[in-house]
């Protein structure tokens, strides 16, 4: 059967008027994720924004799970919730972020940011809907997003983008090293990167660190 006929058949078999339980859950979790994302960018309490980000990222992981992409879901939790948000909170703890509202947390670019965000979202939704409108995932059969399937397609069909991303990460790594070395060379100005701030804040307790075990 040719792909076009398959797509037409799939679309004919699935209607929007009798959603299954998984579809309903998907929409509900999606709404919760969207809500958390909105609160993240509008709340004036900085640390709350980071914690709402956890909810939004966790919601995305649940969406992946509902689409049977178990591996992607756990990696999402591992990288974003376990590492990125922790780094974000670490950075926030080094600032003067108060408990409660930050009076200066608002930006003058509010409307510009809103325009860009809506435009980006519209473009993404349009592209995704246009590309996958007639694609249906069979949730009852063997998992279409299991680790084995994901690994096979990643290293067979998508090797080039995967390697390109690795090079991008390498470039970011080199950039970070260059930036931190530059900061060290200009010893007249105080260090601004997170790593040296960590060291100096830890140095405060260094003298008492020499005492014994707990």
């Amino acid at each position: 059967m040719n792909p076009a006929a398959t797509a037409a058949l799939a679309a004919a078999q699935h209607g929007f008027l009798s959603p299954s339980g998984v579809e309903i859950a998907f929409v509900l979790v999606g709404l919760a994720t969207l809500g958390a994302a909105l609160v993240t960018v509008t709340t004036r309490q900085l640390v709350h924004a980071a914690l709402w980000l956890v909810v939004a990222l966790g919601g995305l992981a649940v969406e992946y799970l509902l689409l049977t992409a178990e591996f992607i879901a756990w990696v999402q939790v591992l990288i974003y919730v376990g590492s990125v948000v922790v780094l974000l909170l670490f950075g926030l703890m080094l600032t003067k972020a108060p408990i409660g509202r930050s009076p200066d947390a608002d930006s003058g670019n509010r409307w510009a940011a809103l325009t860009v965000a809506v435009a980006a979202a519209a473009a993404l939704v349009w592209v995704v809907v246009d590309a996958f409108r007639t694609t249906w995932i069979d949730l009852d059969g063997p998992a279409a997003g299991s680790t084995e399937v994901t690994g096979a397609s990643l290293f067979q069909n998508w090797v080039l983008p995967f390697e390109a991303l690795s090079v991008l990460l390498l470039a970011a790594l080199v950039g970070a090293i260059v930036l931190s070395r530059k900061a060290k060379a200009e010893s007249s100005s105080p260090p601004v990167n997170a790593r040296s701030v960590t060291k100096s804040s830890l140095g405060v307790t260094e003298s008492s660190d020499r005492e014994g075990a707990r």
Binding site: V47, H48, L51, V54, E70, F71, W74, V75, V77, L78, V81, G82, S83, V85, V86, L87, L89, F90, L92, M93, L94, I99, G100, A143, S146, T147, T198, K199, S201, L202, T205, E206, S208, D209, E211, G212, A213, R214
Partner: protein, 322 residues
């Protein structure tokens, strides 16, 4: 109906394990530390070695007033212990203790990733507690917790990846199924790195700088009292159970044993976990606390290179034998 009953029974069993094993480890810690340091501690409550003291302690915790500091961020302060504790309950669900589907709470396709990902979420609880307490010692504790994460996360993931490569699967029962005795010398470096990194994740001595009581009182948990404080302590002991169980499953062959009689595999798993838990306690009474920067140095100059070497070795051996 039968399926629902099965699921309910498994959940109940995992929950009972979650409630009892950490307490057993805690009581063992009291006793082992006491004997190693040549002191007795409470010996009368309950008769045998003062076992009922644990229950008395629990009652004491439950009676204490639940104080929230006036300047604290109330809701986050109250939510933090749950965020610290619940991930370990979820991880226990995925740990297989015996062969077959009957001996694991839930078989997961990507078990290794699930376990490491969910354990990582527990750190958020400490960070929330550290920030929301409005106390400078708590804040320092939270900072140290986050700094510690930079040190242990990478070697832990890399060594777990090495075992997954060796077994050719990322499912926890699958890894134990593929285990052979010669994996032990083959993966020994990875096992040591994983265990050390795990100790740093649990903030156990010698990596307990986030709660260093002689420096920053009790780190992120300074302002907590009563049951919420007990939940943080429970999270630490549940973490020991999870780390030791995970090391057993990944590196020590889980239910495989030299005299592995059929049906007794779970005894091996529990035995290995218990021995590892004893080692965790032993390390606490043996080594002085490291500094945060010493941990960073240990991690980036020793643990990360060792785990990369382990991955290379795993890859080479895997290619040669296949």
């Amino acid at each position: 109906m039968n399926d629902a009953l099965d699921v309910a029974l498994r959940l109940l069993l995992v929950f009972v394990v979650f409630l009892t094993f950490p307490l057993i480890v805690g009581q063992t810690e009291h006793k082992v530390m006491a004997h190693m340091q040549g002191r007795l501690g409470p010996m009368y409550a309950g008769g045998f070695h003062g076992w009922a003291q644990l229950i008395a302690d629990g009652v004491k915790f439950a009676q204490k007033e639940d104080v929230v500091p006036a300047g604290a961020d109330r809701r986050i302060f109250q939510l933090a212990p749950a965020v610290a504790l619940l991930p370990y309950l979820l991880v226990l669900l995925a740990l297989p203790i015996g062969p077959g589907e009957g001996a694991v709470g839930q078989v997961l396709d990507a078990g290794v990733f699930f376990v490491l990902a969910v354990m990582g979420v527990g750190v958020l609880g400490s960070l929330m507690a550290g920030w929301a307490s409005a106390n400078k010692f708590s804040l320092l504790g939270g900072l140290r917790t986050a700094a510690q994460l930079l040190a242990y996360e990478l070697p832990m993931l890399l060594t777990a990846a090495s075992v997954a490569m060796a077994a050719g699967t990322v499912s926890l029962p699958g890894i134990v199924d593929a285990f052979e005795w010669w994996w032990l010398p083959w993966q020994i470096v990875g096992a040591l790195v994983f265990f050390v990194a795990g100790l740093a994740e649990l903030q156990r001595p010698p990596f307990d700088m986030p709660v260093a009581d002689s420096e920053i009182i009790f780190g992120a948990y300074t302002e907590y009292t009563g049951l919420r404080f007990a939940l943080f302590l429970l999270a630490e002991y549940a973490g020991i159970v999870v780390l030791c169980g995970l090391t057993t499953v990944l590196f020590l062959g889980g239910w495989h044993g030299p005299w592995g009689a059929d049906g007794l595999g779970w005894v091996w798993t529990l035995l290995k976990t218990a021995v590892l838990a004893f080692v965790v306690i032993w390390l606490r009474v043996t080594y002085p606390r490291l500094r945060e920067d010493q941990l960073q140095k240990l991690s980036w100059t020793l643990l990360v290179p060792l785990s990369l070497a382990q991955i290379a070795l795993t890859g080479v051996v895997k290619v040669v034998i296949s």
